[in-house]
Symmetry: C2
């Protein structure tokens, strides 16, 4: 993973610089400071890195690629600002969310203007790529909105199921990573089949990432992830573990899970009981296997690509995910 | 205004059809029905008409123009959905707003997806026009967000002033009409100076429209406008009338206005007292003059254009505004 580590460190600095620079496109906007705050909240910058690595895997990085990469990161950040409103999240990455800091109305506007800013960065792409980039972008945004809407209805519906969940995370998390991969491949001048493969790569790591996220909610380092363990259970989220348990465990074990999810407030003892069911019932292992499976699919998407630093970095990115180093 | 009436009737049908057609771009989106609902709420379709007339004033309408027109109307509708959340508006054009009908979270997503849908329609424009159209669009969205943010802070700030108000409405209402005019001129193949003039035309009718709106709040037909007279006073909105009163009336009269605006709940008697101050103090007349002034500026923007049905229709559109037939 030498290439991944080296390249991602190098490009992250570049991405941060370009994010800050993009604020100039907002002129004297009263929302500029808040958007700068969103950028300063940090993040792993997985999506723009994916765009850049994808471009390098099909050809080479160029001016268009970094514009596209910054655009996709801004787009992702816009979705986070609006998601945080919808999810009533007080913090993200240990920092106060925009709607808590500045109010819901400002947060809605911050998200809206970030979306326009993302398109603004995309508009800097050269003529050869502009239309295709725009298509990928539009598709990505539409799907992300669908994913969030499905997430909303999943949480309210009694009839939630694993296929519905996978569809939801494919859209909510997969779609933007797919867009990031495709965008990089298009801007790097790749042929159509490579664009599709790098899109699938993004989708597969996206699904892996989301299932891992559900697993880390229970098994992760609370301090490192900035949220208490078992938060999904406390919030009665119908995540991968919950739906897998309902799908594969016996009535008694399902009863423990369902009992907790029917409570108004879930106690620590109940969270622990559900956790034990997930652990001892093989649900956590199953999630781990699923993460490995989607990661393997992502790696398979890269097989036909000739050796390059970009390909190496993409492999590194996918692997770092399962090794939880990222 | 023959051309305006005839052409606007003709094109409105076309616009409605194209709005409905655009829903197909959403595939099986769970938000599709809500977006269809937003379209069905109706409206005067001023912005897409402006785009089409502007194109006809510089050359002629073509396939790109209708795509651009529909895109700008969808964009406008997206801003209304989010504005209604921010303004806590229960109804719009006599119909239940999206966030009341389907919840705030859905309404946020509906707006977000409509924005992507607007860009999707814009993307159908041919290669010659795509980049410029995209620029105009991005600029429009950024300014509208600024305008809404300024409106928010204006309502909270003690130091609100007429220049701040005009800046706010220029952005909140003027910017999208400016974008509509520019977009039509670009898509119709007009030269740069005509693009600018039609942008200014849009801006000027936008400002006129907004000041008229403030005036009609007090003087309009409550049934026709679907809201009670003096709603702005009840909601203590710092509109044109309020700021003009503060700027130009004596202490006693200003005192009546300020007293009402300091109340938690403004009674009907207090609304009537403020209305009398506005009427007798020449504030309503002043608003009327301002509307005429901006309309005259809009008409002046058209002076150098050669005679055409498009130019006639634009003149008709501007005039219909002050004659309150629109």
């Amino acid at each position: 993973m030498r290439n991944f580590t080296e390249l991602s460190e190098k490009y992250r600095i570049n991405i941060e610089e370009r994010l800050t620079e993009s604020l100039q496109l907002l002129g004297g906007s009263p929302l500029r400071e808040s958007i700068g705050y969103v950028f300063s909240m940090g993040g792993k910058r997985v999506r723009p890195l994916l765009t850049i690595f994808a471009a390098e895997a099909v050809g080479e990085s160029n001016k268009d690629v970094i514009n596209g990469a910054v655009a996709i990161e801004i787009l992702h950040n816009f979705t986070l600002v609006h998601d945080d409103i919808m999810d009533n999240a007080d913090t993200r990455r240990g920092k106060t969310t925009v709607h808590i800091k500045s109010g819901v109305n400002t947060a809605i506007l911050v998200g809206d203007q970030m979306m326009a800013l993302a398109y603004d960065c995309l508009e800097k792409c050269s003529g050869d790529h502009l239309r295709e980039a725009l298509r990928i972008f539009n598709e990505g945004v539409k799907e992300v909105c669908d994913g969030q809407a499905l997430d909303e209805s999943l949480s309210k519906s009694a009839a939630s199921s694993m296929p519905g969940y996978v569809d939801m995370i494919s859209k909510k998390t997969g779609a933007l990573l797919m867009a990031a991969g495709k965008l990089g491949a298009v801007l790097g001048g790749g042929p159509e089949d490579e664009v599709e493969l790098l899109g699938s790569f993004g989708m597969n790591i996206g699904i892996a990432f989301q299932i891992l996220d559900d697993m880390l909610d229970l098994e992760g380092d609370a301090e490192r992830f900035g949220k208490p363990r078992g938060l999904d259970i406390m919030e009665k989220k119908k995540n991968y573990l919950y739906l897998k348990a309902l799908e594969s465990l016996d009535e008694t074990k399902v009863g423990v899970v369902k009992a907790a999810y029917q409570k108004m407030t879930v106690t620590e003892t109940e969270v622990a009981a559900v956790r034990d069911v997930y652990r001892n019932g093989g649900i956590v292992d199953s999630a781990q296997r699923e993460v490995s499976e989607y990661t393997a699919r992502a790696l398979a998407n890269l097989e036909t690509f000739k050796e390059s630093d970009g390909k190496d970095a993409l492999i590194g990115l996918a692997k770092s995910l399962v090794q939880r180093k990222f």
